[in-house]
Each structure stands twice: as structure tokens, then as C-alpha cells.
Symmetry: C2
């Protein structure tokens, strides 16, 4: 009869196939948090003394991450990026405010409308660029800005193993070697970018869902109304299929990538990407550009409204 790895009881067991173990629901948070702590420690992401900026969208991953850090005695500084996609954003913001409140944490907000004068829907309408492309660039920049505002040297995001596998996989399908060269759970700081870490890179979608479920957390379940069916969703399905026939295939693939291909590519493509300061906002942007992608978007919004 299977028993819980930690307490030995046989009730309310959860089977963790890829680890070949059983844990009861009560002990599951212990197991999950241990995985996250291991990632943080093994990769020297941050210590308990460091202020860690945490990008919290309200989805299961970022909220799980925030809880682990709070519960395990780290020093998380959560922030929310208000993208003005109503009523979706308002709903997410409310959830994040409630959660951070209940954890006794102060929540900082980067409000795109206040900072830049328009939300994602207006930018998409004015520029006719797909909203996900705009949103990606805006969030990347906002995260960097917020980490600095919160006086944090490190920024943590909720990317989990399924995300990382899908990302590597999609860049393998297209052979984006430069992207692959930079794909790591820890990106060291430099050229105006703070250190970025992914403490959930060892845990899967399903394991995060279980954690959220066991802790009874309220999370945003809706998809963003502007998002199209992303390519990475299909790749996640492909990987669920592969994992169903080969135990722990996702982890083998991602950890193998980090051990084998990533170092080869990093060596080959290192320092190919140089960043310079945007002449308008001062944030880092690719060499050769005068202004950053985000400033470019909002210039176009301004021009479209003054015409």
C-alpha cells in the first residue's frame, strides 16, 4: 500500500509519477516548497537577506511563487503590472491585492496608463501590432523598472518547467539559437538589466496547480481576452504526450538542454547582443536602436491621436 513519503500516512495521497513517490495532501506543500528552495539554492538565485522583486500577475504560477517565498522566510517584494485590459486587469488586480494583503505584504503597481498614457488595447488599436507582442515588451520593461524602484537586485518570475520546456522547444523548432543561448533559470545582471530568476523551473504546471489547490488559493483562471491561442500551448500538449510515454521526459529535456546545448550556444553567441540606453526612457534596448521598443509603440500611439 502506498504511503506518504513524509508522514507515512495512507490517506489523501497524491501520486507524483515523475518522482516515483506518493505524498499526502497535507504534506504536499512541504514537498513542493522543497523543490522550489532547491532551485533557489542550487542556482544561487538569492538568499533570505536579499529583497526579491516578484512579478505577480494573479495567475497560479506567480501566486504560488509568492506564497513559497513568503512561507519559507524569504523577502519578496511583490508588484503588479496594470495593463489596462478591462475588465480582465481589474479582476486580476483585485485578486493580487487581496492575496498580498493576506500575506501582510505591500503591493506596488506599475500602471501602464499612468506611466505611459495608454493601456495595451489602445496601443494595439493604434499600432495594429498583435497585442501579445506589445504586452511582452511592455511587461519585460516594466519588470526591470519595478525591480529597480523596489530596490531589488533580483527579479523573480513564475515560469515553471512546462513553460521552460515549451519555450526551449519552440526555439528549437525554429532554431533560434540566440534565444536558446540566453535561456537559463538565472540570467545574470548587466547592461542595465537586473538579475532575473525562475524559482519554479523544477516544478510542472500540474504540480503548481496542486499547490494552489491544496493551499486553497484564489487565482485568476481566465485567459487574457486579447491573447490568441499561443503556439506554446500546442507544444505543451506535445510534451504532455511525450511525458505520458517517457517518465520525466520534460525534466530530462530541459535539464539536458541546460547541461549540454545551452553552454555550447552561450559560448558561441556570447556578447553578440549589446544593449544601449533608450534615448527617451533610459531603459536598455538593443544596440542600433535610438529608442526602445516600448517608447516606439507609444510614439506611434501619440502620432495616431494627433493626426
Amino acid at each position: 500500500m502506498p504511503r506518504c513519503l513524509k508522514c507515512g500516512k495512507s490517506r489523501d495521497l497524491i501520486k507524483l509519477e515523475r518522482h516515483r513517490i506518493w505524498v499526502c495532501r497535507e504534506c504536499y506543500p512541504w514537498f513542493f516548497e522543497k523543490q522550489v528552495e532547491r532551485a533557489i539554492e542550487e542556482k544561487n538565485m538569492f538568499t533570505r537577506d536579499e529583497r526579491v522583486a516578484v512579478a505577480v500577475s494573479g495567475g497560479k504560477d506567480s501566486l504560488a511563487l509568492l506564497h513559497v517565498l513568503a512561507r519559507k522566510g524569504y523577502n519578496p517584494k511583490p508588484f503588479f503590472i496594470d495593463l489596462g485590459i478591462e475588465p480582465y486587469t481589474r479582476h486580476a488586480r483585485k485578486i493580487v491585492e487581496d492575496v498580498t494583503g493576506s500575506l501582510g505584504l505591500e503591493l506596488e503597481v506599475y500602471d501602464l496608463k499612468k506611466e505611459r498614457g495608454a493601456g495595451i488595447p489602445e496601443v494595439a488599436r493604434a499600432t495594429r501590432i498583435p497585442p501579445c507582442s506589445i504586452c511582452g515588451a511592455v511587461k519585460r520593461q516594466a519588470m526591470n523598472i519595478m525591480a529597480k524602484r523596489l530596490e531589488c537586485n533580483v527579479l523573480a518570475t513564475g515560469h515553471n518547467l512546462d513553460d521552460e520546456v515549451a519555450f526551449v522547444f519552440s526555439n528549437v523548432i525554429d532554431w533560434n539559437l540566440e534565444q536558446l543561448a540566453r535561456q537559463k533559470p538565472v540570467l545574470e545582471p548587466g547592461q542595465g538589466m537586473v538579475k532575473k530568476v525562475k524559482p519554479l523551473y523544477r516544478v510542472t504546471d500540474r504540480e503548481v496547480e496542486l499547490y494552489v489547490d491544496v493551499l486553497g488559493l484564489n487565482v485568476v483562471k481566465e485567459e487574457c481576452p486579447l491573447s490568441r491561442k499561443a503556439k506554446s500551448v500546442d507544444y505543451k500538449r506535445v510534451w504532455d504526450e511525450i511525458e505520458s510515454t517517457r517518465r520525466n521526459a520534460k525534466w530530462s529535456f530541459y535539464s539536458g538542454f541546460l547541461k549540454r546545448l545551452q553552454p555550447v550556444l552561450e559560448e558561441r553567441f556570447q556578447e553578440k547582443v549589446r544593449l544601449v540606453e533608450c534615448e527617451k526612457c533610459g531603459e536598455p534596448t538593443t544596440e542600433g536602436r535610438k529608442i526602445c521598443l516600448v517608447c516606439g509603440f507609444f510614439e506611434r500611439v501619440k502620432n495616431s491621436t494627433t493626426q
Copy 2:
């Protein structure tokens, strides 16, 4: 109304989705052969003056390849490897003898029992090694030996695009970078190995099936009775799925691999593999071994029967 790309007729059309064209059944061989010729010429595989050893198993791919070469004025020298897997081998050999006879070509045979004293089933039984592992090594060596016996400087095999995609993919999943570094449609000769080429690398499983069907060729349809469900079959299904959502995904993946990752890996891992002559049979084997894998197998067969 769709029309045949070549003759303009609208009857018996075949849709080639990934090329965005229609061809009628009558003109299909022209299209297929053009793809193969293009592969041969672009990659400098061989000329019409060169003797080309062709490994013919009796399956759709090798028989399609042999037909293209014969019909397009190349100089193919077919050979069959008799592995002694009865009654499967006998059936395949009969088909290959018929086909080569009808093409007016002489067929050479490498008979494993005559050459080495035992067939695959006996070796598998004596060594307890999985038959596919034995067979792979035996065939690789037999092909090299036969190319030299037939006085050919180049050896052609029937690997098609689906095979290449599945092979690259499975080596990506496991991050076998050394294998990937050597994965090309043309392997230059050296260290006792003849030049190896894959003239079907631009055409898919389905396109080969169509060619065989249109020409009305009799091919071996049975699976080898010793083969287990190979991993690469699952990967082929994964790729059929990806191709169904992204047009020409297989070709993009494989050609992208050849353009982008393969050269990086070849540079990184070049000359890592050194071959030496087997002390028993003289064929190339990995540095550090005294005798080759195949001689090793048959030593074990001999020991098991003398005990």
C-alpha cells in the same frame, strides 16, 4: 479549379499541401524525381558517371530511390543485406531480386550467415542484446563493405525527410550533440568509411508512398518481426501533428537544423570521433576498441556455442 502544375489537366490530381501545388498522378513521378535530383545536385552527392552503391531492403524508400536513379540515368549498384530473419528476409529478398531484374540491374547480396556464420536471430539469442541494436551495427558495417566490394565511392540509402526529422528530434530530446553534429544528408568519406548520401532527404514518407503507388511498385509492407515499436515512430506521429498545424514544419525544422545548429555542433565536436581498424575484420571502429562491435557480437556467439 485546381490544375496540374506540369500538364495543366484537372483530372486525378494530388494535392501537395506543403508545396502549395497540385500535380496529376501521371505527372507526379516527374515532380518526385525532380525533388530527388535537386537533392543530389545541390548537395553534390554524385554524378551520372559515378557508380553509386544503393542499399535496397525492399521497403518503399530504398525501392523508390533505386527507381529514381535508374530512371534518371544514374549508375546505381544495388545490394541486399540478407540478415537471416526468416521468413521475413526471404520474402524481402525475392521482391528485391524481382525489382532489380525488371530494371535490368545486377543485385549483389551480403549474406550475414555466409559472411559471419549466423543471422540476427541467432546473435540476439546468444548475446541477449536487443535485435535492433545488433541489426543497426551489422547493416552499417555491411553497407560500407558492400560499397567497397562494388567499387563505389559513394553509398546511397533511402532515408527520407520524416526519418531525418525523427532522428534529429530524438537526438534533440536526449541532447546527443555528437550524433547531431554528424547528422547531414552527405557524410564525406574518411577513416575507412565511404561517402554516405541520402537522396530522399527532401521528400516525406507520404510522398514516397505516392511515388511507389503511382509506379505500381511491389514493396515489402510488413514490419520486421523482431523490431519493437521504435521510439522514432512516436516522434513521427508528433511531427505529423505539428505539420498538420504548421505548413511544411518538417522541412523548416530539418533545413533549419542543417543551416543553423548543425554547423555550430560540427565545429564544436569535429574530430572528436576517431576511428581505427578492427584487428579482426579491418573495418573501421571507434578508437579504444580492439575489435569492432560486429566482431564482438560474433565472438560472443562463438563462445556461447563452444561452451
